[in-house]
Symmetry: C2
Subunit: 250 residues, 2 copies
């Protein structure tokens, strides 16, 4: 049986947006902290994989959000590495509130990056075994993000700055999320809430690159935004978010 | 006797820079979280002051850093509101490592902002009494940041973006720190460490403003950078940092 790991976390003010709700980028940071702790507990922490010249990277997020927790709220986060194949491991996260209700579910795809060659490496058995995930030959097809029509898209340009770069020597995945969202305007962001979405990371962004964040908004049966981040003519990240209009709080 | 409040904190990877050391902006976030917890414990939390139309803001930081803690390190943070006058309260923070050595000392000046008028308010006795800080008529002269010579300064321009704004409806003070530092280049930032500094916040930055971050570097007896942030021709923030060259880690 796959190993599960749980931990309580208090949402801090600095993790929140102007409405004192947890931001999506900080959610992702906290989730990775929890899976990192599980790895450390299984003696497969950052130091272990780094000594092999490898580092975990995120390939894909697929998330459903009933509600984002608010500042000072205590939540319990559970993570389970459910399945793996030669290249990927699939890890689920559940965020529960104090009534034990799942308020957020995130399904993720992790891979190992060869830090020298800057490309994906096969998962060594010695790294993956302790999680007791199931082996399956099948490589899952993740839900694809919707395409962006660049001609009609909103766009915003971002310079990669010093603090965007993490210990893997590339832009941290949580920064892409803010860049994608910040192509939407303030009026939209402050009156809407993400209820689900997918994010795919296709290529790393390095120091001194300039990133263009494109987005289209579709308001049909559901209110959807499609996102595309690119630097140097390459696609770095695609994402789709499904939104709810905020209700007035009573 | 002034009330002291202590709490242990684990430094998380997402609070760190590429070298897995705590960033100055995240240090500040964590310190304010701790003082916020003390306030909540004394029934003077965010909700209490906000119900009076007020919110705490930071006017000045003066810090000494022996070393920044690293990812996954546990530190203990102590805070004491030592003294106040009609406009300001002075609050000290001590960050200690597991050997109980003080690794960081931060002296701060807080004020209350009237959320409607967007200016400083007198400190009401009902807000300040529970901290048992000493009253003193004297308004301290904080150490001033060094002036910047704009003609010879490095400069970098930043657009205020959605996630820079906090629940006070202005740019969060921790963002100014990154903007100041990011006017320095990567070669400098990755080979130097801050050992002390002062930061003064003079005017709030609001949504849709464009901030220019100026800095001069002086390499005399000490290696010093002087910083100036401005938007719309106003001075928003000044800062001075004293740096050490990084030693090779053994």
């Amino acid at each position: 049986m796959a190993q599960s790991y749980k931990q309580k976390q208090v949402v801090r003010y600095y993790m929140c947006d102007r409405t004192n709700k947890l931001t999506l980028s900080m959610l992702v940071n906290v989730l990775l902290e929890i899976s990192g702790q599980q790895s450390a507990l299984l003696n497969r922490g950052e130091d272990f994989v780094r000594a092999m010249g490898l580092s975990w990277i995120i390939i894909h997020y697929d998330f459903e959000i009933n509600r984002m927790p608010k500042a000072e709220e205590t939540v319990e986060i559970e993570t389970i590495a459910t399945e793996y194949n030669k290249l990927f491991t699939y890890r689920d996260f559940y965020v529960r509130d104090k009534n034990n209700e799942v308020i957020i579910t995130v399904k993720t795809t992790f891979a190992l990056m060869d830090l020298e060659k800057r490309r994906m490496a096969r998962l060594p058995e010695i790294v993956i075994a302790p999680y007791q995930a199931e082996f399956s030959k099948r490589i899952r097809r993740n839900v694809k993000a919707m395409p962006v029509e660049k001609e009609s898209a909103s766009q915003k340009i971002f310079n990669v700055s010093y603090f965007d770069i993490d210990s893997n020597n590339h832009v941290n995945n949580s920064r892409y999320i803010n860049w994608a969202l910040e192509s939407l305007d303030e009026a939209f962001l402050s009156s809407h809430t993400i209820k689900k979405g997918v994010i795919s990371f296709e290529k790393e962004v390095k120091e001194n690159e300039i990133v263009t964040s494109y987005s289209n908004t579709y308001d049909d049966e559901e209110l959807i935004t499609a996102h595309h981040l690119s630097a140097n003519g390459m696609t770095n990240c695609t994402a789709t978010f499904v939104w709810d209009r905020n209700k007035k709080e009573g």
